[in-house]
Symmetry: C2
Subunit: 250 residues, 2 copies
């Protein structure tokens, strides 16, 4: 029987990329604060991630959670990321543990490590001849308060794994664009994540066995400063796209 | 002229240890939510760390901040550490930057890395023949939600340093006890911090030059699983006590 999966933030860009390719692969329960605008591949719960009762109800009977909900703006102010991204993520982990959920895949962000992109390193680090790599073992260096909130979510995942045995994978998502990678934007090409690689990566987060992991979510771009080694090794991630080939995955 | 220093949480145990030895060394402004019970070595502000207006006023004209305020209980619930430790610490960093403060020494905690003390490692890691060391370059592994809040404070410090150039040192304080170290408690002996070493360490946080640092705050105990190498090297920390010698520093 297919796993039952709760997808929070189902209406967002990452949620759409996942559902466009994995609609039939799981028993979906979808949650978003905005109601759906069309047909959805599963039960749809309209609720805010800060609504404790709704979140607790939404995780009942669920095998795994993909937690995307939160304020997605890199310019989001503290007054928003504190309740929505930090407190909301804590609520999801807590409810997941209490309901006996096995796995949570948490949408972290490249912004959790954005301040590694110093004036001294850029733009050289964005180029194919650069050997600079972040691999998930480095301490976070958030480039904005949104990034602080994502790194705090990773910390919470570490705690809920260590304390309660919940399997947690934090995916530091790069630059998700539909179809072609960004043009004339070296940084965006280096952290490009195609829609099909995104869906495949979250499928692997649902299928693989792990304890606590931090991985980078990018395609196999020629330009890159994030290692995808850990995602390959632990999750079995096998990206098919590369921003250098200007792949068009529709 | 002596530096002007704002000490938040001045009435707590760490604050008392600092003031008992450094009362005359700085121009102190003391802040605590509880009013003082006796003579104090400086202006005393009674305010909660979550009171934005009071914090902004308290940092005016200040050279450096020692930020100790927050819920100090290792069992503190999320509903307390979220506003008091995470949001409160963010408020202090923000106000410090806006007021042109040069340095902030932030009281982090051994609980930010408490989950490294796994069943497999303990009690061996508490013993003098163990080579196991944490040195501040490892990813946090909080042992409780209090520890999550302290690691989140470290993240905020990283951000305010990278973005605004504020000098920030996070001190993962061990087990501060007055006089003798704990007896019949291996873990407590390994992370003992004497009162005089505590005062000396925070004096070094005020006097040394640094960018962003995470250091461990323990005495030079024979038993230890925290390295004090970074504190020695960057801050010039020279501890004089050792739990194995049952020093009594009064």
């Amino acid at each position: 029987m297919a796993q039952s999966v709760l997808l929070t933030g189902a209406g967002g860009r990452v949620g759409r990329a996942i559902l466009s390719r994995l609609a039939d692969a799981y028993e979906w329960r979808l949650l978003d604060r905005d109601p759906p605008t069309g047909e959805e591949p599963g039960e749809f719960v309209v609720a805010d991630v800060t609504d404790e009762a709704a979140i607790r109800e939404a995780v009942e009977g669920i095998d795994a959670v993909i937690h995307l909900a939160g304020d997605p703006r890199k310019t989001a102010p503290w007054e928003s990321v504190l309740p929505n991204n930090i407190d909301g993520t804590r609520m999801v982990f807590e409810a997941a543990v209490d309901a006996g959920v096995e796995k949570v895949a948490f949408a972290s962000s490249n912004h959790a490590v954005g301040a590694y992109e110093t004036d001294e390193r850029t733009p050289e680090m964005y180029r194919t001849d650069s050997e600079f790599r972040l691999d998930g073992t480095e301490l976070p260096r958030p480039g904005n308060l949104y990034g602080v909130s994502k790194a705090a979510g990773e910390l919470l995942g570490r705690y809920y794994h260590d304390e309660y045995g919940l399997s947690v994978v934090c995916v530091r998502i790069g630059n998700l664009t539909k179809g072609r990678p960004p043009v004339d934007y070296e940084r965006g090409q280096a952290m490009w994540l195609s829609h099909r690689d995104c869906a495949h990566l979250f499928e692997r987060c649902l299928e693989a066995e792990y304890g606590y992991e931090i991985v980078y979510g990018i395609s196999d771009n020629d330009r890159k400063y994030y290692s995808i080694g850990r995602a390959r090794e632990v999750l079995g991630y096998e990206p098919r796209d590369n921003s250098a080939e200007h792949a068009d995955d529709g």
